[in-house]
């Protein structure tokens, strides 16, 4: 006696499975396209990056408490990739701080007592920073800090030193 046994899937089953697969494929393609569009239009939100937050917080403190923004110090010359600030510490002592943005992906903060290197701090995995002088209506010299995500401007912050007696 021969026993007939059903094998494989019916047309309807295959159609339903393909329809579900198609829906998921549609979602994936839509989301990928949107992600690419956003990547092109919007810069990375560096404020959610702890290393970038640390750089900005330290730089703000140095600039707020600065009494001068020298053009030169030792072998350093002030420019978009090097920021030199003469700043007052919490204990009342002064130091010259050099912010060095010359190495891609790294930021170095070197603090000097007189001409001796007193401390060095660095951050890795950070964007390209630029520091430029920004004249203000009050006549004060502020510092404009910018950071780029590719060609897109992601951070643009004007930091004005506090008035010192």
């Amino acid at each position: 006696m021969t026993r007939f046994r059903e094998r494989g899937y019916t047309l309807m089953e295959i159609v339903v499975v393909l329809a579900i697969f198609g829906v998921f494929l549609f979602i994936t393609v839509t989301l990928t396209n949107e992600m690419r569009r956003n990547e092109k239009k919007w810069p990375v939100n560096f404020f959610s990056h702890p290393e970038v937050g640390s750089v900005l917080a330290r730089m703000r403190r140095d600039i707020y408490d600065s009494t001068a923004l020298p053009d030169n110090f030792e072998t350093y010359t002030s420019g978009p990739d090097t920021l030199i600030v003469y700043t007052i510490n919490q204990d009342g002592t002064a130091e010259t701080v050099v912010w060095d943005f010359t190495k891609k992906g790294e930021v170095h903060r070197r603090a000097f007592k007189a001409t001796l290197l007193a401390s060095e701090w660095m951050a890795r995995g950070v964007p390209m920073f630029l520091a430029t002088a920004q004249p203000m209506p009050s006549g004060q010299d502020a510092v404009r800090i910018r950071a780029l995500d590719g060609s897109k401007l992601a951070i643009d912050e004007i930091i004005v030193p506090r008035p010192h007696a």
Binding site: I20, V23, I27, L31, E34, N38, K41, W42, P43, N45, F47, M136, P137, S138, Q140, A142, K152, L153, I155, D156, E157, I158, V160, P163
Partner: protein, 128 residues
């Protein structure tokens, strides 16, 4: 004895309904997420520009604050490029003879962001 096999129509319909709900919810969730991400990016850029502009208005001489020709944004707004087209506005309110409330506004695609600066006439250098 004949044994029934497969699912009944009711079972298949219920399963499809559940699947439809799951897929619809997922799509709605992702769409909402994308919208909120975009709004967060816009807000971050807008408030960077507003905060820079506020630094200018904190240091503008008190006499210049009332000048209507001067009531425009003064800072570089390059960071707002992804928000284009956008408009900016400066509103100065006199609450007392020696006090000015300055409201800085950026408007773009049905959204807006504001930042207020209060200035007092101290008779000094116009530093604050």
């Amino acid at each position: 004895m004949r044994r029934s096999r497969g699912f009944s129509l009711a079972e298949v319909l219920v399963a499809l309904a559940i699947l439809a709900i799951v897929i619809t919810t997922t799509i709605a969730m992702f769409a909402e997420r994308a919208k909120r991400m975009r709004e967060a990016s816009e807000t971050i850029l807008a408030y960077q520009a507003l905060s820079n502009e506020a630094e200018y208005w904190r240091r503008e001489s008190f006499a210049q604050i009332d000048n209507p020709d001067n009531q425009t944004f003064k800072s570089d707004l390059d960071i707002l490029a992804p928000l284009a087209p956008y408009t900016t506005a400066v509103k100065v309110e006199t609450t007392r003879a020696d006090i000015r409330n300055i409201t800085l506004t950026i408007r773009w695609s049905r959204r807006e962001a504001h930042l207020g600066v209060a200035r007092a006439d101290t008779g000094g250098s116009g530093l604050w």
